[in-house]
């Protein structure tokens, strides 16, 4: 029997290695990382940016150089900014070669039944993909209603230029954190959607259609404006793993929900297991508006993902439903943030997280209720499932309440799959593995039911594969 002294030492070491950011990691960022004003200038020229955008990029670069790395969260040692810079530079194709795509990615495509053409696209190999055709058809259909759905770069000029300029990186300013500043300097590709007042977009728009665009899936910027009383459901990503040669995803999503409007933003992220996913998503909701987030995080080596909602208008509401599945070698730090800045606002955050095979999953949240948010309600419920004793699941929620006429509740639970449940399913003929997978699928059900059917099916398949350890 080990003495508890030695055990204590082991545990302390383990803890520290996860949560301390060693100074050495900063070195690669502080030294001239190869990201010079000249490079940023060139990027801007290649893109034919309007003048204000060129200056914006340069200012962002300056901010990036001045800001330190965050002092909290998962370690970012594996990020090689030099390498990434080479892909940001113009004249590089940003394309991988099929032969270089890791086998486990290819296997997953196989298992998930992804068609060949899609595989090439998902792997960033850059073949022309049918999705282009699908994309154009969808565009035509919604354009008839006055909806603008275009790539963001072309929206910088043309009839919506002023609208884009007024909103671009106003919700997530470059000063927000180091990777927002990086994004501001080198952002490339992404979607711009504008839904006019009163228009309800019946079919979900999917960013999937834009996979082929240069820089897609790396530093893309999504800007969505839903005007008064309108409705839109936007889906980002897909369950198939996305492979990128450059291993940083520092995208940015800005969502503006107008008075009485409703926006649902669904994401399934399954970046390849070498990726650092440092996406920043933020929504601002006006009076009587509703913002719904549905989020499934499966991939990446390291993720920092905390969609934030600012309830700016009276009576506005936010619903967040999410699931995070951390497997071997993954450190997924996800959660949500909400700021109640007006009276009678409501927020619901409901998350599930699963850790298995040495994975680390962290739920991190912030609920802030400002003094003027009289009559507001907030409820947070997070549940974590531990599949084995090699993994970690941490819950770090914080509430900052500055108003008395509120109703704030929070509950968190952590536990394991019930032995009785497994036995019961096995007594009906399922193998132990299948029983576990079924139970975990049931655990994820609240998220699955918020997704369009084909996504829900894909997500369930993904969970099944993850449980069986078939994804490396």
């Amino acid at each position: 029997m080990r003495s508890f002294e030695t055990e204590k030492t082991q545990v302390e070491e383990f803890d520290r290695s996860i949560y301390d950011i060693k100074d050495a990691a900063n070195a690669s960022f502080e030294v001239n990382s190869g990201l010079t004003p000249a490079i940023v200038q060139k990027i801007s020229e290649e893109k034919h940016d309007p003048e204000w955008m060129r200056l914006f990029r340069l200012k962002s670069l300056q901010t990036y150089n001045e800001m330190p790395l965050p002092s909290w969260g998962p370690p970012l040692d594996g990020l090689d900014i030099e390498d990434i810079v080479t892909y940001v530079r113009p004249n590089t194709a940003m394309r991988a070669k099929w032969s270089e795509v890791p086998d486990d990615i290819k296997n997953t495509f196989e298992r998930l039944g992804i068609p060949k053409a899609e595989r090439l696209s998902l792997a960033g190999v850059g073949a022309q993909y049918d999705s282009e055709v699908v994309y154009h058809n969808v565009r035509a259909e919604v354009a008839a209603k006055g909806v603008v759905y275009t790539d963001i770069e072309s929206a910088l000029t043309g009839p919506y230029a002023e609208m884009v300029r007024k909103h671009f990186m106003k919700l997530v300013p470059p000063t927000d954190h180091k990777f927002a500043a990086l994004h501001g300097a080198v952002w490339s590709g992404g979607s711009f959607v504008y839904v006019p007042p009163g228009v309800s977009v019946e079919i979900p728009l999917q960013s999937y259609f834009r996979l082929n665009a240069p820089g897609a899936g790396q530093f893309e910027h999504t800007l969505i404006i839903v005007d008064k009383g309108a409705y839109l459901h936007f889906i980002e990503g897909c369950s198939a793993p996305k492979y990128n040669v450059a291993n940083l995803h520092a995208g940015c999503v800005e969502l503006f929900v107008g008075e009485g409007a409703r926006l649902r933003y669904s994401t399934i992220e399954n970046w390849s297991k070498n990726m650092y996913n440092l996406n920043t998503k933020r929504a601002r909701v006006e009076k009587d508006g509703i913002m719904e987030w549905v989020s499934g995080s499966f991939g990446s080596h390291t993720s920092c993902l905390y969609p934030m909602t600012i309830l700016k208008g009276e009576n506005s509401r936010m619903e967040f439903t999410g699931i995070t599945f951390a497997g071997n070698g993954q450190n997924l730090d996800t959660g949500a943030k909400v700021v109640h800045a007006a009276p009678h606002t409501t927020s619901h955050i409901s998350t599930k997280s699963i850790s298995r095979d040495g994975g680390i999953s962290t739920f991190r949240s912030a609920v802030v209720v400002a003094p003027e948010a009289v009559g507001s309600k907030s409820a947070v419920a997070c549940e974590s499932l531990m599949i084995d004793d090699r993994s970690r699941s941490d819950t770090i929620p914080v509430m900052d309440i500055r108003c008395d006429d509120v109703d704030v509740g929070h509950e968190a639970k952590i536990g394991r799959i019930s032995e009785q449940a497994i036995f019961y399913l096995m007594s009906r003929g399922l193998s132990e593995d299948d029983a576990r997978a079924l139970i975990v699928g049931g655990f994820a059900e609240p998220i699955a039911k918020e997704l369009p059917l084909e996504y829900a099916v894909e997500m369930n398949n993904l969970i099944h594969l993850e449980m069986k350890g078939s994804i490396g």
């Binding site: 055990e7 912030a366 993994s391 914080v398 900052d400 500055r402 509950e411």
Partner: protein, 359 residues
Amino acid sequence: MNTAINQLPVRTWNWLGVNNVGENAALFVPQNSEPRFVVGPLPAGVQQVQVPAQGVPQSGMGREVDEFVLQYANASCFVAAEGDTKTPLLVEGFLDDAHPQLVAHNSIYAEKGSSITFVEVSRSATQTKGLLASLTQVYAARGAKVRLVQLVLTGDNCKSWNAVAATVEEGAKFELVRILLGSAVASAGARVNLAGQHGEFWLDQIYFGDTTRSIDINDVAEHRGEDTLSEMHTAGVLAGDSTKLLRGTIDFQRGAVHAVGHESETVLLLSKTARNKTAPLILCGEEQVEGQHAATIGRLNQKQMYYLCSRGLSPAAARRLMVEAQFAPAVDKIPQEELQKEVLELVARRLDENEESFE
């Protein structure tokens, strides 16, 4: 420098301001002053010893506070308990202008199968700008039961730091009852190492912030042994312009198979300008555990208020009854009736003082 006090076990966003205590809770410069510190009559089975208990972790407040007390202690009470000691040991500290600083180092070593109740009461003269720092180290050997009751009843010009560190061995139980009503700036933190199988940690605490009082707490239950249990429950009231930050962590370390941790906090907000921060953490590295925490923050339940009023209670009486109801689990664990009364009277007075600000 004060970044090391009451540190959140896992850092989070800096802008939330919960990673450690604020500027106002920085430790003081110790004078070499005489304290007013009285150790009550030792009950049968309790002896004073020379050396404090060994094998205890760092306190919930952190190394900086621990080292401060160890270095500058001007009062101490180290005891060892054997057998079932029937009556509580009372240790009282008093701050006044002639004795404005108390740095107390207390320790309880509970032998196998023993039980002891140790009550620490800190008071002060009304106007005194007193400073109170204490570190209480507890070692509960196999099967021992230790109940530590800390009543912080110091005046409105005082600052206090109450640190607790405990190790709970196999089958032992450590109960901490913390009544945090005093001081303008009150900081406290307990870290309990549930080392042995079937060990238990029970925390019942209350706080009442009003005027510009500032309260900062950091409690951590570390589950290492199998079948260990932690129950951490806090009830608080915030009135006036008070601010409070409660960090409560259930830490399931790998190997703590079948451990169970429950944490709850109820915060009654009785003013528009009080500010509440709550950070209930669960850290988990072990599969076979059960962890739960719940926090409820808001005003007095209006339907309950109306129900009580409909039976003839004035709103002030109904409010008092409901606050007492919230505080009952902790107050009931104070072993002496006079102390219970003192606490309830202080609470009633504080409610009266803040009457105009209530709706």
